[in-house]
Structures are given as C-alpha cells and as structure tokens.
C-alpha cells in the first residue's frame, strides 16, 4: 500500500515533465512520421495524398540524399570530437588559478556573446577570397590565396572551424563546472603520492569528469547533426553539394521546393541517425564505466 501510494506520488510529480515531453517532443515526432507518408497532390491543388513509404523510396534512389548523408556523417565524425577536445582543453586552462586568469577566461567567453548568424557573416568577410583578412594574413606568410568557402574541398572544413570557434567555448562552461566539482584534496593526495600531471589527469580528472563529458558529447552531437545556419548563410549547401548536410536538404525540400513530404522523410532519417549515434555513445561510456 505504502509502495503503491509513493509510486502514485512519483508519477504525479513527474506528470508536468511527462506532459511537456509528450506535447513538445513525442507529438511533433509522431506528426513528422505521419507527414512523411503524405505527398502533395498535383491533380488536386493544395491537397495532400497518402503515399505510404514512397517519399522514403524516392529519397533512397536520389544520389543527392546519399551525398548529403555522407557529408553529415563526415562533418560529425570530425566536429564532435574536435569541439569536445577543445572545450576540455579550454576548461582545464580556465580552471587554473594564477595571475591574469580572468583575462583569458574572458577571451574564451567572447565567441559566446556573438550569435551564430553574426559569426557566420563575420567569418564570410574574413574568408572572402578576393579581399578577406585570412588571405591577407596567409599571403604575408608567403602562402598563396585560398578559395575557402567557394572550394568544394575547403568549404566544409571552414564551416567546422567556424562552428568550433563558436561552439567550443559554450561546451567549455559545462566541463569547467564539472572540473570545479572535483575535490582539490584528491589532487593534493595524488601529488603527495608522487603522481605526475598526466597520471593525475587520467586517474582523477578524466574518471570524475565522465558524466559532464557524456552530457557534452551527446548534446554536442545532437546540436551538430542539426547544424544549419552556417550552411544557410555561407554556402547554401555548395560548392558541388560539399556542405549540403541532411538538415539543409530537409530545409530546402520543405521551404524552397515546397515538398513537405520529402522534407519530413529527411527529418525522420536524421532522427534515426541521431538516436543511433547517441545510443552508441551511451553504450561506449557505460561499458567503460562498468570496466
């Protein structure tokens, strides 16, 4: 009886969160799934018709879909470890206490104050191949001018750099908070026992930072799978579809081509991809924890 009553109270307390989850997460996913099974009718203006899995079969036959999928995977394989690594490095640096720490902490925070659209436009001006600052600087070093965002070999990596410049300082805050939670006595004890810097990092910092790291890695992955603004503002998916990630392709299908069925099918594929990646990351981390 007591157990039953306490279970009810728990459900009651969870109810607002569960309702919000259902309304703002599960319901949109359900309508997206349903919408991906419809297509607009050409014969009846403005009417949508049920087409089953046709949007998906059309998608899987489209070479641009496969290219966009590859670009999305390639981007995420590089950007997620890179952002987390740089965020961790910045967090460790920000966690040090010596003269002038405040100044470089401020430097790390500056990108946070710049919105993604503004950052994208600033970088576009700096990376301009005709008269940008980046080419002027590398010319000084004797390196010839680079095409940057207008080259199919460089554009994606320029976007990785811009998103990392903006994102790393954001993720740093979570890791820095995690670092501050680690008791200083542990480091002191380790130092007395003769442990060096590297040993202290791998035996104390890394294990005790596992949870914030897992949070950052998973959230960062979800954010970067949906990365869209730099592609929208800087490259429009080009050159030669080299920055045409699935999210941008979905946007284009829905809002440029007016093909909402295709857009929703793309979003469902993206959702499956994000869930699979996040599940894999959870598994890897929990296996390590068990070991």
């Amino acid at each position: 009886m007591t157990y039953r009553r306490s279970a009810w109270i728990a459900y009651l307390l969870l109810a607002p969160a569960l309702v919000c989850l259902a309304v703002f997460r599960l319901w949109p996913i359900a309508t997206t799934l349903l919408g991906s099974l419809y297509s607009q009718s050409i014969m009846q203006a403005g009417k949508d018709v049920f087409v089953g899995l046709n949007n998906y079969t059309q998608l899987f036959r489209d070479p641009i879909f496969w290219q966009s999928l590859w670009v999305t995977i390639k981007l995420n394989l590089v950007i997620n470890p890179l952002q987390v690594f740089i965020a961790l490095l910045l967090a460790i640096m920000a966690n040090q206490r010596f003269r002038g720490t405040g100044f470089y902490r401020l430097l790390f925070f500056i990108p946070l104050g710049v919105s993604v659209p503004i950052a994208s436009i600033l970088w576009r001006i700096m990376l301009d191949p005709n008269s940008g600052l980046a080419n002027s600087l590398i010319n000084l070093a004797g390196i010839p001018s680079q095409p940057f965002l207008i080259s199919k070999d460089q554009a994606l990596w320029c976007i990785v750099a811009i998103a990392t410049w903006k994102g790393a300082s954001f993720w740093m805050i979570f890791l820095w908070a995690g670092l501050q939670d680690i008791p200083r006595q542990l480091y002191e004890a380790a130092r007395i026992d003769g442990a060096g810097g590297i040993s202290r990092f791998f035996r104390i910092t890394f294990p005790l930072l596992r949870r914030p790291l897992l949070f950052v890695l998973i959230t960062d992955t979800a954010v970067n799978f949906l990365l869209f603004v730099p592609m929208f503002l800087l490259t429009r998916g080009g050159p030669s579809y080299s920055t045409n990630v699935l999210m941008y392709e979905a946007y284009k299908s829905g809002f440029v081509y007016g093909d909402m069925g295709r857009a929703l099918a793309l979003v469902m594929v993206l959702l499956v991809l994000v869930i699979a990646t996040v599940a894999m990351q959870f598994r890897l981390f929990s296996q390590e924890e068990a070991n």
């Binding site: 297509s39 607009q40 050409i42 203006a45 403005g46 009417k47 059309q58 036959r61 489209d62 070479p63 641009i64 301009d128 191949p129 005709n130 008269s131 010319n139 001018s145 095409p147 965002l149 207008i150 080259s151 199919k152 429009r236 998916g237 080009g238 050159p239 030669s240 579809y241 284009k252 829905g254 809002f255 440029v256 081509y257 007016g258 093909d259 909402m260």
Partner: protein, 413 residues
C-alpha cells in the same frame, strides 16, 4: 490586409499610400522580406494556410507552381477577358494565366541592358559600343537601329573585358565585366537562348538533353571562363553586392536589369546603356517577365485585395505611381503609349525604356513554363555557382540534369 512583398518597401509604400488615399476604408499592412527570403516565407505562410496574407507578390514563372499547389485564388471574377487583353501587353497577361484562369495580374515586366562605364573605357583607350548616352536625344527608330546593327557579341565583351581588367600584385582593382544577378536563371537564360537552347523540354518536365544540351554547355563554359580562365569577373560577389561594384567604378561592363538605370544615375556614374550582347554564332536574346500580384486562397478580404490589384496594376493612377517609384518596364499598354509620347523618354537616361520596348518586341524570351520552377531555379543557381567556382561545366550540367529529372518525375506521377 497584409501584402507579402519583397525588397522594395519604400516604393510599395508610395503605391499603398496612394491607394489608401483613394480608399480610406481599407488599410494595408505591408510585410516585406529580402528577395532571397521572400519565396521561402511565401512557402511557409501558404503551407500554414495563414489567413493574414491577402496579397502575394508572384515572380512570374511561379504562377503555375503556386496555382498547382492551391496558393492563389483566381482573379476571373474581377477581370473580364476583354479587360485583360486591353490592359496589359500580351506576354505579361498570358504569363499570369494557368489552366485558362487568370491567377495573377502583371505589376510590371523587365528587360536587360549592358551598362558601360565610359570613364574606364576612356582610360583603357577602348571604343565603347554604340549606345544611349547623355550626349544626344533619340527616337525609337534610332534606338531600333542601334539594337539591330550595333549590338556587341559576347566575344567582343570578353575581348574588351580582358583589356579593362586591372590587376596589380595578384589583386584586381577593376574588373572588366560583371553580371547583375550572378548565377541566377533570370540573368543567365539569355546565354542559352542566344544559342537557341532551351533549359527544359516542351513538356516542362524533362531536363536531360536540354539543361545539358550542347548549347547550354557552350554557354556554361563561357560563363565559367569569365571567372576561371579569363579572370575578368569577380568570384564570391552576391547579386546584392554586384551593382555597387559598377556604381563604385570597380566594374567596366555590367549586364543587368533596367532598374539599375536610376541607381547608376543617382550614384553619378558616367555611363551609357547598350543592348544586351549575343553569341556570334547565335541570335540576340534578352530576359523578360517580372512581378505579378495574386490573391491568397486563404484570404478573408479577397474583394478588398482585388481592389488593390485593380489600382496597382490596372489603373492609370496606381500603375503610374508604381512605375515612377520602381522604374521597371511597365506591363500596362496605356503606360507604354504615355512613354512613347513623352519627350522625357527620348533623352538619357529615360530613353533606356525605348530600348527596353525594342527588346520586349524583338528579343525577349520568357522563362521556362514548368510546375517545378522552384526546383529548376534553385538547382540552376547552385549549378552555375559551382561552375563559377571552377567545377567542370559538363560534370556540373550532367549532374544537375539528372537531379532535376528526379524532381520532375514527381510531377509526372
């Protein structure tokens, strides 16, 4: 009442103010968006069946696309066939028809010119093409003579542009040539048209063999060479930025719309207006078609919206306000008659409208008729942007044609 409109808010406001003065019981609320966002906003708001939208600015090749998808309410109840034929030039009203219904009324049409910076030509010691300048007044016949006999070829343009481009220490200070709407279909269609090549098949839904035909391949190669081989035109410049390069004296030859005439005059550029060039082996071809206005199917104020369309597009007062504010070639027959009779339009730079009239009658080619125009336009722009950035034209056109046919197939089902 909301008017979804685009990049000319100040000009539309003048027309709205004139309408509201005549109709004090109707108030118009304008929603304006930058050009590149307008089409996406229309998609979002129409898909959401937004009842606040009453009037939509319709880029003319989208009449079919919007009609197919049920965005527009037919205007048949407000305009009789006789009235339509007597009010607008044929090409314009026909472009507003879909399946026998009048779906959108012509606001204006458009034409393309070649603008020459006379100072940069003088400095380089090059004789400019014969065109319209501030030195003389002209009649329509004289303008027609220039267009028929003195039109430059694209080959001549490249020869001059090479001599006009000034590069020092790897940095180009003056570019020989630039297009106005860089890499956009509206701007570049004249290249293929000049070589007799069409972008899509007669059914409007076939790209293979058309988008990548030998004619378009030659046009695409020429376009890519401007940036990569001859290096006479700047990369990474957007259509928004391109006209300011000409008005700032950084571009010597500029091919763009007639709406630039006023802008360049205001900027104090010493320029002349010449007919749009053509390929030596082909024939002259120029862009045409522009904005129409339609009523949203979800509008709760269709009668009031129709009244505004009558004023803006079909009344002497409204169309004159719009023409004087916007400066684009009118679609209304009565306005053309006024232009021909007014001495102001025989002196520079307003005599450019006479050249526009000649082009409309002799060289204008409308954009392709296809319900998949949104896809065609977007893929065209990304393909030609790739070619501009150095991708092999054949590879780019073949890939684009294949992709377009995937989209077109959906409309054939």
């Amino acid at each position: 009442m909301t008017l979804s409109d685009n990049t000319w808010p100040a000009n539309v406001k003048k027309a709205v103010a004139a309408f509201e003065a005549q109709n004090p019981d109707i108030k118009i609320q304008l929603d304006t968006y930058p050009f590149r966002d307008l089409f996406e906003t229309i998609e979002v708001r129409m898909k959401a069946q937004d009842k606040d939208v009453d009037l939509i600015s319709v880029d003319v090749p989208l009449v079919a696309s919007y009609s197919v998808r049920g965005y527009l309410a037919p205007l048949d109840a407000y305009f009789s066939r006789d009235q339509i034929e007597k009010t607008w030039i044929k090409a314009s009203w026909q472009a507003g028809m879909y399946n026998g219904h009048f779906m959108a009324a012509p606001q204006n049409t458009s034409t393309q010119f070649m603008f020459i910076n006379r100072k940069l030509f003088r400095d380089a010691g090059i004789e400019p093409p014969k065109g319209l300048t501030g030195d003389q007044t002209v009649t329509y016949d004289q303008v027609a003579q220039i267009a028929a006999n003195d039109r430059w070829t694209w080959e001549q343009v490249v020869d001059a542009a090479k001599k006009l481009t000034k590069t020092e220490n790897g940095r180009t200070d003056v570019w020989g040539f630039a297009f106005d709407q860089v890499s956009r279909l509206y701007q570049l269609q004249c290249l293929g048209d000049s070589l007799g090549a069409t972008l899509v098949g007669p059914d409007g839904l076939t790209a293979q063999g058309y988008f990548n035909s030998p004619g378009w391949l030659k046009a695409a190669q020429w376009y890519g060479d401007l940036f990569n081989k001859w290096k006479v035109s700047p990369k990474n410049v957007t259509p928004d930025e391109s006209p300011s390069l000409f008005s700032g004296g950084k571009v010597a030859i500029f091919v763009g719309g007639e709406w630039n005439v006023g802008r360049f005059k205001e900027a104090g550029v010493d320029f002349e207006v010449a007919p749009i060039p053509y390929f030596k082996e082909g024939k002259p071809a120029s862009g045409t078609g522009s904005w129409h206005v339609g009523i949203s199917k979800n509008s709760q104020h269709q009668a009031e919206a129709a009244k505004f369309i009558q004023f803006l597009c079909a009344s002497d007062a409204g169309a004159t306000v719009w023409f004087e504010a916007q400066g684009q070639s009118p679609a209304m027959i009565a306005l053309w008659s006024k232009i021909s009779a007014d001495p102001k339009f025989h002196a520079f730079p307003d005599d450019a409208y006479l050249l526009g009239d000649y082009e409309a009658q002799h060289t204008a080619v409308p954009r392709p008729l296809t319900p998949a125009y949104l896809q065609l336009e977007d893929i065209f722009a990304s393909t030609y942007e790739d070619i501009r950035n150095g991708v092999d034209p054949k590879e780019a056109l073949d890939g684009a044609a294949q992709r377009l046919d995937v989209f077109f197939a959906q409309f054939k089902r």
